[in-house]
């Protein structure tokens, strides 16, 4: 039995390992931080969010300040898929972001069918927005208030 945890991570409940969903590479023990099974690169944020304003003229260019912010990119050591892009101040300890109780997970999935493809839920947030816009469009929004 394997449980999908993110777009790129799954846990093999039988071997208790983290695995890459793209290349099936076994990363490390599911009882550890999955990041320990990945490779990391300290990316200058200006390489992704490139300066749009002329850096000769302006200090603020729409790029993040590399003295304040770095992007830690986490890659599968086998296939190079990027699992996470973690934005941190320089030198800040990476976050242990997923720490699941593996015994509880095993017990929980005993009564469930294995899911091999992720289920997509209904896009309720967008539905509500569209409904709100429809309602709004039905109303006359005339000028009111602030008249002298």
């Amino acid at each position: 039995m394997k449980v999908l945890i993110t777009e790129y991570l799954r846990i093999n409940l039988d071997t208790e390992n983290w695995e890459c969903r793209r290349c099936d590479h076994v990363l490390n023990s599911a009882r550890e931080n999955y990041k320990r099974g990945l490779r990391v690169y300290d990316r200058d944020p200006r390489e992704i969010h490139k300066p749009l304003l002329d850096p000769q003229r302006y200090a603020r260019t729409y790029s993040p300040d590399p003295q304040w912010c770095r992007i830690l990119e986490y890659y599968c050591p086998n296939c190079g898929t990027m699992f996470e892009a973690e934005y941190l101040p320089p030198g800040h300890p990476p976050l242990h972001d997923i720490e699941l109780d593996i015994d509880a997970l095993k017990a929980q999935w005993q009564g469930r069918e294995e899911v091999t493809e992720p289920v997509t839920g209904p896009d309720l947030a967008l539905e509500k927005v569209l409904l709100g816009r429809k309602l709004h469009a039905e109303h006359e929004h005339g000028h009111h208030g602030h008249r002298g």
Binding site: R39, L52, Y62, Q67, G80, A85, P89, E99, L126, H146
Partner: protein, 762 residues
């Protein structure tokens, strides 16, 4: 040294007498921690027990719930249509119904959740303090007003009208309406003063008080309030609007009571709360046990850049969910970006319903089963004396705080209640304004653009552009023609999508749009902006998706665009921020790129101010983006060709936008190999990269490697303290102008010394 007096042991009778004396003689009925720290629904009252004792027909409950919803919706529409505040016009309002003991039961389907999720606090205050107070009392026909967030509320720019509903002489429920009014007499116009250095700079601070008797506004009190704000007509008009919205709601609820009886109404409200709470617990049980975490970094106090950390760990165990915010930055004593914990929780409630489970009923019961832990005196749990006029900053973070850790729990579930979505752009990216209008009125408020945040990318699709604010599905970004009729603000150019400002990913975030504004026809006008994210991006990506970029406030000062256009109508080919700033077509202008946090400043006629609404975070690895979606972004002019290669590694014909599938696959494979080559194993990387403390050059606030130790570090004044998280003190920040003066004086002194040295050498 004097001897300390011995504690006197009181008899039971004397103790009771003392307790009564103290209760009867409280010198100040301030915000009550017993009320303000309790976000849970209360135990059933006797009235609720009676109503539910016989059991209710679920079909009839459903029917009554529908009628209440329709009544709330009708009252909402009334307030929306009649309200004068820009916030009311574009959906920044709510109507709600509360149980007799002050639990928020239901809100209007299109209303702002957080407004109502705060309003039960002042209602509970009224119940606790005013019902039995002979000088106040609560009677049929009374209405109460309030705006101070310290008694419950998002921020002091919102005003509520709260009315008890009596039926056959008995208090059966409470009704409310709240609008983001804007102006409130603060030290800056518009109601959200980033310049507030104490709570006494925040303008009028209404604790809950009676302003309506016999269903009529008390004109003496209305006049006092009008006299306290810059927009007295707005104050009067919207007080009337809210009152009559609530009165219509009251009529409808009384009709329900007449038809179905008190027990059915009371039972429906109570069972709605209990059913929602039960459903929440059921959904929590479905989640895996464990802990997921997220960090959020706010990079500005709106007076200076300062990195403030919000730390969140969500732990699930069975049907328990604990949100642990310990490790978060300490409160600022003289900056407005603090919030009290009650307001923060209301934003959490909003975020859960907006981003995670939008299908759940919009009631406080969704938050009721969740345990929330915070450090007292942190920026999200600030004490009452702290300024909190720009509490939106941490509260918007609360709205999106769920997205990353909850999706790390919920992705695995065999049944999902809604789509997986990365973080929405979470800044109040709009112009706040004030001054004298072209009609000669004094005013202050904000533009509806606040409602145009880009949606986060979804696990199955790109995010929608400028979809809604983080705090409400239903708000519209407004019609500028109406704004131009009311105020001297003129928009230059269309609302262009902010090209290349993208949260990249397999699916990209929805993008924001450019806002280019100037003023015309006013004797005195000015703007402020209150956003973070100019140095450290604000909307986070998910599962390998990138965040949005940083955003800036751009200005062209010292010009009059109207004069320039009169002289040469073609001087600006297109009002596009990047081109204007890089090409500088108007000679003699002072072009500057600034932090998105700007306190109020005057805008002379024809000077240009430019900001963007921002993009939502991206989803997934950029190398997995369908190349055809990359071409679509190019065709729609959302992105430059450089990014198609640099970010997405797509090989294509630039003229025809035809993808070379094979070459793209090869390029992407090569990039994946390059990633492996340039990176390090995690443990090796951590050993080299992690520092024991925050870098000395950063103004940094919050924990670093241990949530029990909180840093307050400001290199500008050589401040560095480390506090125990449970003993937090507020941080006092220097006046940025004092720092600037000191720097200039030092420069002057150094140059003076140099001059003296030159003279001495001659």
């Amino acid at each position: 040294m004097n001897d300390m007096p011995q504690k006197v042991e009181l008899s039971g009778e004397d103790q009771l007498l003392l307790d009564k004396f103290l209760a009867d003689n409280r010198l100040f009925l301030g915000p009550d921690p017993e009320i303000m720290r309790n976000h849970k629904i209360q135990p059933r009252s006797a009235m609720e027990e009676t109503a539910l004792a016989g059991g209710l027909d679920p079909h009839q409950v459903h029917h009554v719930r529908g009628l209440i919803n329709a009544a709330l919706s009708e009252a909402f529409t009334m307030v929306n249509q009649m309200g004068a505040a820009p916030g009311a016009k574009w959906g920044d309002l709510v109507t709600g119904i509360y149980t007799a003991q002050g639990d928020l039961a239901m809100i209007a389907p299109h209303g702002i959740i957080a407004f109502a999720a705060c309003c039960f606090y002042p209602i509970r205050f009224i119940i606790k303090n005013w019902i039995d107070d002979p000088t106040v009392g609560v009677r049929d026909g009374d209405g109460f007003i309030h705006n101070d967030a310290r008694y419950g509320g998002v921020h002091n720019t919102d005003q509520s009208m709260m009315m008890p509903l009596f039926y056959k002489g008995e208090l059966v429920c409470w009704l409310s309406s709240t609008i983001h009014e804007g102006e409130n007499g603060a030290c800056e116009p518009g109601g959200m003063p980033a310049a507030a250095e104490s709570k006494y700079d925040e303008g009028i601070k209404m604790s809950p008080f009676k302003v309506v008797e016999n269903f009529q506004l008390k004109r003496d009190l209305v006049t006092f309030l009008q006299n306290s704000v810059r927009d007295p007509k707005l104050q009067l008009e919207d007080m009337k609007v809210k009152l009559h919205g609530v009165m219509r709601l009251r009529e409808r609820i009384i009709a329900i009571l007449d038809q179905f009886g008190k027990d059915m109404l009371v039972g429906t409200l109570r069972s709605h709360l209990e059913d929602t709470e039960a459903e929440m617990r059921r959904r929590i049980r479905e989640m895996p046990d464990g802990t997921t975490r997220v960090l959020q970094f706010m990079d500005s106090s709106l007076r200076e850049n300062a990195l403030q950390k919000i730390s969140l760990a969500i732990t699930v165990k069975g049907e328990r969910m604990i949100m642990d915010f310990r490790g978060t930055a300490p409160q600022f004593m003289n900056r407005s970006v603090n919030t009290n914990i009650a307001s923060f929780k209301a934003a959490l409630c909003t975020g859960l319903l907006q981003n995670i489970w939008p299908d759940l009923p919009h009631t406080m019961a969704v938050l009721s089963p969740i345990e929330i832990i915070s450090d007292r005196n942190s920026i999200i749990d600030a004490e009452g004396e702290m300024p909190q006029a720009m509490s939106l900053m941490p509260m918007f973070k609360a709205c999106v705080a769920w997205t990353i850790p909850m999706n790390k729990f919920n992705y695995s579930l065999p049944h999902k209640y809604s789509a997986i979505i990365a973080s929405q752009y979470d800044q109040a990216a709009t112009f706040i304004y004030g001054g004298i209008t072209q009609h000669g009125d004094v005013t202050g408020n904000f533009c509806g653009d606040i409602n145009g945040n880009g949606q986060g990318a979804r696990s199955h699709a790109d995010g929608e552009h400028s979809v809604s604010p983080v705090f409400g599905f239903m708000c519209d970004s407004g019609e500028h023609e109406i704004n131009e009729e009311d105020t001297p603000i003129i928009r230059l150019g269309a609302q262009r999508i902010a090209k290349d400002r993208i949260g990249f990913g397999k699916y990209r975030g929805g993008m924001g749009y450019e806002q280019i504004a100037t003023a015309r026809g006013s004797g005195m006008w000015g703007f402020m902006t209150g956003c973070e994210g100019s140095k450290f991006p604000s909307a986070q990506g998910l599962f390998g998706g990138y965040s949005c970029p940083s955003y800036q406030l751009l200005k062209i000062k010292g010009i009059n665009i109207f004069e320039e256009l009169k002289k040469n109508p073609k001087i600006v080919e297109v009002f596009d921020i990047v081109r204007l700033m890089n090409e500088q077509p108007i000679k003699g202008g002072r072009y500057s790129s600034n932090d998105m946090g700007m306190t109020f400043e005057l805008c002379d006629e024809g000077e240009v101010y430019m900001i963007c609404q921002g993009a939502g975070g991206g989803y997934g690895d950029v190398l997995e983006r369908d190349p055809e979606l990359v071409m679509k972004d190019l065709r729609e002019d959302l992105m430059s060709h450089e990014n198609a290669w640099d970010i997405y590694r797509v090989v294509y014909d630039r003229e025809q936008l035809v993808v070379d599938v094979e070459a793209t696959a090869e390029a992407r494979a090569a990039e994946r190999r390059a990633r492996i080559a340039r990176s390090q194993p995690f443990d090796t990387f951590v050993a080299e990269w992690v520092t024991p403390e925050p870098p000395a050059h950063l103004p940094y606030f919050g924990s670093w490697d241990d949530n029990r130790r909180i840093y307050a570090q400001n290199p500008a004044i050589n401040l560095k303290v480390v506090m125990d998280a449970d003993q937090l003190q507020g941080v006092f920040m220097p006046n940025p102008k004092d720092l600037q003066i000191a720097a200039l004086e030092a420069q002057l002194a150094a140059q003076g010394a140099e001059l003296e040295a030159c003279r001495a050498a001659r």
